[in-house]
């Protein structure tokens, strides 16, 4: 008797779980999975443009920012920020692969604040700061606790007071036994 009840409860649970997951799938709108739609940002306007492959080829774009009348795209693989006009015309690049001042090494995120561009050098745990014209301004070394030396920075924000906030994917040092 108890066994039968158990099977019935389990199958009921299964149906409920299946049903709810199906409901979630039906709730997908315009290709977006929205479990709680009120907590998501809405796209009000989509500006589409075509990049001429003869002028620039992106290999791993990780972030796009529209600032004033330009579009800045960070390419993780090429270690550069590509700058385009609003029609997709290529203008210039900022940064190059390397480890010197103003060079980029696995840049994962960037922000534009007060006409300055802050780029994270994820592996090197540094922030490179450029002027909007692409000239290098300064390098800021971030200090990570020794026990989290294998952690990588993933995001950056710059506050109104020019304070830099970064988030880490915390990864502790592997222990050798």
């Amino acid at each position: 008797m108890i066994k039968k009840h158990g099977v019935f409860i389990l199958s009921l649970l299964f149906i409920v779980v299946r049903g709810s997951s199906q409901t979630n799938l039906i709730d997908q709108k315009n290709g977006l999975f929205q479990l709680t739609p009120e907590k998501h940002a809405r796209l009000l306007k989509i500006h589409e443009f075509q990049i001429d492959p003869k002028s620039a080829i992106l290999s791993k774009p990780v972030k796009v920012i529209k600032h004033q009348d330009k579009i800045y795209i960070l390419d993780l693989k090429q270690c550069k920020i590509f700058i385009f006009n609003l029609d997709g015309g290529f203008l210039s690049t900022i940064g190059q692969p390397g480890q010197g001042p103003g060079d980029l090494e696995y840049p994962i995120d960037f922000v534009i604040r007060s006409n300055e561009i802050y780029v994270i050098n994820s592996a090197a745990k540094r922030v490179e700061v450029f002027f909007l014209n692409g000239n290098f301004k300064e390098r800021i070394q971030l200090h990570v606790p020794q026990e989290y030396v294998f952690s990588n920075i993933s995001h950056i924000l710059v506050g109104n007071n020019s304070k830099i906030y970064v988030s880490y994917n915390l990864r502790a040092c592997p222990k050798v036994t």
Partner: protein, 167 residues
């Protein structure tokens, strides 16, 4: 007693100042002094190469992943859009010459494979044990790249960038 204490302090100060002056951290921009080296076939050459980009790869010959990187280095060596004379690759490991020779033949390498009898790993503050190390030295014998990761694409970009520099 006080005299002994003074002497010991002055000796330790001397040692510390000596270390500060003569021991140099290997980092971006550090100049590399030339050294005569022999590869596993006893062929002599000077490290870093003159008028060329030098790629130095420290690896553990018992670690298959690190040994496989030799293939990627070989691919890089043969597929860069620069003249072969403007790049030199040296892979360094702690082993005996016959073992390195067999690796050289197995992977059909064209660059130098060196047994670390010259203590090059110590000189470059690297190791041939657990962690690999890649160092790129430019035409002016200055270190331009150090990493414990092996990223072939990134290495290619760095090599091409510095090979384009004029002497």
């Amino acid at each position: 007693m006080v005299k002994k204490f003074k002497i010991s302090i002055s000796i330790s100060l001397f040692v510390l100042s000596f270390n500060a002056v003569f021991s140099q951290d290997i980092t971006y921009g550090t100049s590399v002094e030339k050294i005569h080296v022999r590869d596993c076939f006893s062929k002599e050459f000077i490290l870093p190469f003159s008028n060329a980009i030098t790629v130095i790869y420290f690896f553990n010959n018992k670690n298959p992943n690190q040994v496989n990187n030799l293939l990627e280095l070989e691919y890089l060596y043969n597929n860069l859009n620069i003249e072969k004379s403007s790049i030199g690759i040296v892979a360094i490991s702690s082993s005996n010459n016959s073992n390195l020779q067999s690796i050289y033949r197995k992977y059909k390498l064209e660059f130098f494979l060196v047994n670390d009898e010259y203590k090059l790993a110590k000189r470059f503050q690297a190791s041939c044990e657990s962690c690999l190390r890649v160092i790129i030295v430019d035409k002016h014998s200055k270190i331009r790249y150090l990493s414990s990761q092996f990223d072939g694409t990134f290495l290619r970009d760095i090599i091409q960038r510095y090979s384009a520099e004029r002497l």
